[in-house]
Symmetry: C2
Subunit: 546 residues, 2 copies
Amino acid sequence: MASTLETLVATACKIRDDSCAKVQPPLPELPDPLPLNVRGIADQVLTPAEIAITTTEPLDLIEKLAKGEYTAVEVTKAYLRRAALAQKLLNCLTELLWDQAIERAEALDKIFAETGKPIGPFHGLPISAKEHISIKGLRCNAAFVAWVNDVAEEDAHIVETMQNMGGIIFCRSTQPQTIMHIESDTVIYGTTYNSYNTNLTAGGSTGGEGALLGFNATPLGLGTDIGGSIRVPAAFNGRYGLRPTAQRVPFRGLKMPMAGADSIFGTIGPLSQSRRMLAYFMKHVIGSEPWHSENGLLPVPWRENVLKPGKLKIAVLWSDEVVKPAPPIYRAMNIVVEALKKGVPGYDIELVPWKAMRQDYAWDLTSALYFTDGGEEEVETMASVGEEILPLTKWIMTENPAVKKHDIHSLWKLHCERDAYRGEYNKYWQSSGAEDGHPVDAILCPVAIGPACLHGTARYWAYTAQWNLIDSPGVVFPVTSVDVELDKKEEGYTPVNEQDKFFYDLYEPEKYRDAPINLQLVGRRFYDDKLLEILKVVENALGRDS
Amino acid sequence: MASTLETLVATACKIRDDSCAKVQPPLPELPDPLPLNVRGIADQVLTPAEIAITTTEPLDLIEKLAKGEYTAVEVTKAYLRRAALAQKLLNCLTELLWDQAIERAEALDKIFAETGKPIGPFHGLPISAKEHISIKGLRCNAAFVAWVNDVAEEDAHIVETMQNMGGIIFCRSTQPQTIMHIESDTVIYGTTYNSYNTNLTAGGSTGGEGALLGFNATPLGLGTDIGGSIRVPAAFNGRYGLRPTAQRVPFRGLKMPMAGADSIFGTIGPLSQSRRMLAYFMKHVIGSEPWHSENGLLPVPWRENVLKPGKLKIAVLWSDEVVKPAPPIYRAMNIVVEALKKGVPGYDIELVPWKAMRQDYAWDLTSALYFTDGGEEEVETMASVGEEILPLTKWIMTENPAVKKHDIHSLWKLHCERDAYRGEYNKYWQSSGAEDGHPVDAILCPVAIGPACLHGTARYWAYTAQWNLIDSPGVVFPVTSVDVELDKKEEGYTPVNEQDKFFYDLYEPEKYRDAPINLQLVGRRFYDDKLLEILKVVENALGRDS
């Protein structure tokens, strides 16, 4: 057993290492020891041209590619090298697609040279993807050792979609065991680090994308989210990430455990360097009408200018009353609230208080919905090759008192509870418009209980999972970063429960030095378009172009 | 036990009978014996004014109400009396809402008198509803004896929606045991008859609505469909019925067994006297944006003029190759095909052949998805009061080899099979556009294996359930009726399996004398709007205004 396990792990790591070894010119030796904040190393290792490309805002990059100011090959090579460097520093890749990406870039450049036109809205843009998004002919393990040798027979629909629009998939990134931690740690590849502070996690489950993005080693990442897995890593690395409403973005071709379990839906979504790139992604992906070729998708069109000037009602949720967010989160909330109070031309912004609705119950319900077989199938898959069950897997699954193996009747009962909660939440939301006929447009809230977690401590996701439960779209955006002076521990606070105590005891600002602080904006189901327009207003309030 | 059962049945029947006894002026004694075709009796019993109202096409009726040419009270009384007569002849009601409907009509007339305007697009229109659609304060049994005394705490969302738009719910109608037969027969109320030939079923599960509609005793019925339950009764009574794509029409507030089971979705939809009424219903119901107050609904807007002039590709499915339709169905198919071949101005109609995709497998899959607990919960509910399990319940549920009690893992596997089949079907559909980039717009096919079934023989629904499995909208429309001379039994045919033999042996045209023959048109998921526009073209081809 052990030897099978070791062989499989070695196979996966060799694929990764061989793929990274293709980088030309090769990367130099790195300084030893490395600082906790490794961000400056890019400037020492990469060429000025590579740095210029990889720090260009992605939509500007697309524009330059479309004008022929950059070739797809030079852009792709710059990102390939930066991603390989990220791998050395952050352990965030499972495979670098050096040959394939360059070959594809060359083909695109050839077409461009011949026609003078981009082939689509993502012409020449390198795009990274979480490992469990299948790529035809490549192995896809979905973080299970037992699946290390499984080869994908087809491209995932999102891969096909992005490629059809001119995108170049250039690397694949890490995710945690079971794809159900908000830290990315596996028996196969180990732990992924945060470039701002390697004592901290890059988040999960789309953690490799988060690390790449934070290190400017990808302009656009494809992630998946069923409880915060796009938003948390985007936030922990100070970038943008959208969990769209489920069943909108192409989903076919994800390698996943628990196939056929549909008590709660996951979704694919974008992580990027800017809000406008998220909107651009959604506009074009949905504009491609992917529902024709994927029956499970809903033909809800993407709209523009949904948000009308005038009243804009934003609810503010400071705490879910189960785990109180750490001081930097409150400071970030204050920054945004104060900015919104100053107003934005054209909008009459009204801020209203918002309460979590039985968050402890909602979290238990959500985690029960995740693993309706009590985690049995995943445990068996791991056991089949002697894969160790990692602590965060135990926490969310095997030792979670809310998780149990259901029979059909208890499953139906659970669905009724889910539907009742959703209905109740919807009523609450609708009631916010009782007086003026204008329900809350979006909710401003934390993404997590604090900055990127210390490794192994990411034991609370309810600030994001809440919105998966009610299937509301959520977007995260950077606000500030930890300031050791301003973000002192709140003295004299008495935690209200064990989880609250765990995080209160853990917090010391020094531990989180340099960590980015993001916040989350949540919209109504299927109003992803409007949500991103509201974020634009919020960013305008913060003095950003957005 | 028996006495509980008898008491409960008596309670339900007394509610019905007392409600019908309110009719003023009272209905006269009926002829004895009654003919098999009871349609002529309306002319003997009702006043000319009542007949004029109840034979006015529903949209014309709405127009007359909106202009004040009819009052809501006179229209409502006419339909109340005709529905009460239908009950005497066809056993199709569970409750006549005499007092409530008239009170509501009076209130609407008062508003109209004051404002000169209708309150909404259904102002004053009487609307009937299948019994399991809840009405606040009224008992709702969903065809279970055990639930006879259950009182609904709230109006179903569709009831609220229709009332907000000016509709008047005026009666409630029968459905079968478990709501899962395509004949409407219960231990509570007995069997519902077809007005064209009382030896035949009015269909199910929305059988009461079908009977009312066929007898012109409702201008608009609200039904539900998870396997054909709107389309079959509309078809068996020669009228129009639409099973919309699921999760579009308000669904909250249905009384149902197996709450929380969501392996396959049911939906509410309209049955009416004309195609344009179906479109009007959908346009206004979806236009009311019901998704704001019902979280489970999808905000896919209703569009008009989706169908563009030019190529219109219609697939023709003559038989599913499991049970061959009876001769009048073939004749009806031929009528429509020949009409389409003659063409419709503005359209370049292309007819292409279509094959069923493993219909036997699909039907087994569908019936497995209906009862993932093997029917246990329903059997227990019936057993709790000693309710007899009727033969058609045994056929679909307890004695159906495809139905079994699943555990979580076998349920997931079943979902994977469902999703794979859907994906495969979608590919097949898409492939119909491989050569010209124009996949099939709609499929023309039978609704059932023959005309309305003889009582107790409705043991095949795959011609409708197929489209529930892939969640395609389906609409049925009248084409012809059984002609004893033209629709002779096909001599020398060798049935290909037991089911095929059952129906072949059963068929003799004389048994189905006067029975209407409808066909079905099926569209792509969420293209309900386009489907109804295609039906307009088909009806134009048949020389109808539509």
